[in-house]
Point group: C2
Chain length 335, copies 2
DNA sequence: TTGTAGGCGTTATCAA
DNA sequence: TTGATAACGCCTACAA
């Protein structure tokens, strides 16, 4: 069916454009009778307001953009869910982009977002290391009055609102928990050793050992890259009786370590405890279920979205928000 | 910084609106010298084109909507990733909505999407059972020339382009695979027994048994609801030696069944084989790794998006597409 | 209670 | 190569 406009309705109804417009917007200036008549005609003409005309006139954008490194990452999926829940309440839509962990793609997306289609941007960086080029593109957005909220993977060198977890404390608490369980040979496996987050967690590990009067052993800190074979390393550590607990940074790694240890014939948690950092999708279904750091992804999403909306609506002060969201431990059967 | 418009640039540069507009759009009618001059001024004025004015004038929408039941579902996350990859190539943005498995929320979202913000809709239904009300809202969208592509959870009673997996064949092939491995006491656990998809899979199960000359035993077909305690059921079946294989519909269920069986002291796959239907995020990291049906979520996403774009650009014929995307088995160590 | 008229910012046609 | 003008569809003072 052909699209119709307010003009078509005016013609068909005999009323003027403005009367029609008011009637369709339920303006009480117009008599109920006229309103109903006009609405009926609008219906029969299959009228739909033109989104862009209306937006141009009213000069509001009801769209928020979000860029995350990877939608397949359970944690980011949770954040997105939280964001969506918060935005939906306020009538904002959410346009999603994925950088696929690539700063180059990320840059292209940010550039594209200058087109004015979004009122604000939520972003978790592909690399949390400062990149001058990315910063330039983001600043560009800001110069057009598009506020930015960074979450989780933030850059310390870029000025904007930021929400992230306390990686130091989360690690510190995790190690403390393991110590309370009587563990003192705790291996720390890190495939993210070269990131800001990885470094903070490492610091938390070191400090927690110190505060529990456990000597730091470099052989128990195991930085590695995702391609590396980490299994043989774990096998060696266990067979030499060097460890009684392992803390892992990511779900894949946590689950395969957990499985490996069971397969090697050790008991979890008695022989070796396993603690996973990021809340994995399967932690509670695996037996023994896996203790993990709850990063409250959904909450973080909601909170970031709220800050962004408040910033858009000028409800925040001059200074940027820089807030650490607390984590908590979900203690299950693996520790 | 204050926002500037083309008019501001005209004033500042001395050129007319139309010259400025053309220059900014790199129109070769305008001399290189003038273009550069104008672009410089635009830059210094922090000019950004008004998205809505431009869209109103050009009358194009570059935005696609997608509604999935649950973003935390790994499969849907994969589909969204595929969609995004396809759309990104064509310059379309993707606005994401989640129905949270609720037809009521779904309806609200669909209603909202009448606002003209999207050029087309991708949807996987909250319930694949026909709902007259949902259908009405979707038809409404169609009447405004917004094409719809249903994927995965489709409704047979609604007319639009559809892409989904061959649930019958996928199950049939899975059972065949188990039979080839010498299994003939195959339990079928289904928390989705009341859905279209659940029924098709059930049919595949029954027919595959028949074709392998195995008698169907109703005690091995176990429909249940998510709240139900299924563990005791499995324990009973195994202790009575009633089964030598289990096929599960969902990742959570698959993983916990897998873990349970190991915990009970059975060997996977020798005592009991485990096959998971939907590709779970952790299947390959668990030991023994889990054989599963590959639903090619990312491919399905790409393909659905392609169909939608083709439909939008009138590249498809009169008839709606109704296509089953083949699945494949990822054979791992659990079978 | 209804109508007139102008403008939101951009782009496209046509004329200069 | 540049400029004048109208139009995209909607909304809203203001007038009637």
């Amino acid at each position: 069916m052909k699209k119709s406009t307010i003009k078509d309705i005016s013609k068909a109804s005999g009323f003027s454009n403005s009367t029609v417009s008011k009637a369709l917007n339920n303006n009480k200036e117009i008599s109920k009778r006229t309103r109903d008549k006009i609405k009926n005609i609008a219906n029969s003409l299959n009228y739909k307001p033109n989104f862009f005309a209306s937006r141009l006139r009213k000069n509001v954008v009801n769209n928020i953009g979000i860029i995350v490194p990877d939608i397949l990452n359970y944690y980011f999926a949770k954040v997105i869910k939280g964001v969506q829940l918060e935005l939906y309440k306020s009538g904002y839509n959410l346009t999603c982009f994925f950088s696929d962990e690539s700063p180059a793609i990320e840059k292209k997306i940010i550039k594209k977002l200058r087109d004015g289609s979004i009122a604000g941007l939520l972003i978790s960086l592909a690399k949390d290391i400062h990149d001058e080029n990315t910063a330039k593109n983001l600043k560009d957005l800001q110069s057009y009055d598009i506020p930015i909220v960074m979450f989780d993977r933030i850059s310390n060198e870029f000025d904007c609102d930021k929400v992230y977890m306390d990686n130091f404390k989360a690690t510190f608490d995790s190690i403390n928990h393991l110590c309370k369980r009587g563990k003192n040979k705790i291996a720390f496996l890190s495939p993210i050793h070269d990131t800001l987050i990885g470094k903070e967690r490492y610091n938390g590990y070191v400090e927690a050992l110190k505060s529990n009067k456990i000597n730091y052993k470099s052989e128990l800190y195991i930085p590695y890259n995702k391609e590396d074979d980490i299994e043989s390393e774990i096998i060696k550590l266990t067979s030499d009786n060097k460890i009684d607990a392992i803390i892992c940074m990511e779900p894949e790694n946590t689950v395969s370590t957990h499985s490996l240890i069971l397969n090697l014939g050790y008991k979890i948690p008695n022989d070796i405890a396993v603690l996973g950092f990021t809340d994995g999708p399967m932690y509670k279904f695996i037996k023994p279920s896996i203790t993990s750091v709850n990063q409250h992804g959904e909450y973080l999403g909601k909170y970031s979205a709220k800050i962004l909306l408040d910033r858009i609506n000028n409800k925040l002060g001059e200074n940027f928000i820089d807030e650490k969201v607390p984590t908590s431990l979900i203690i299950r059967d693996s520790t």
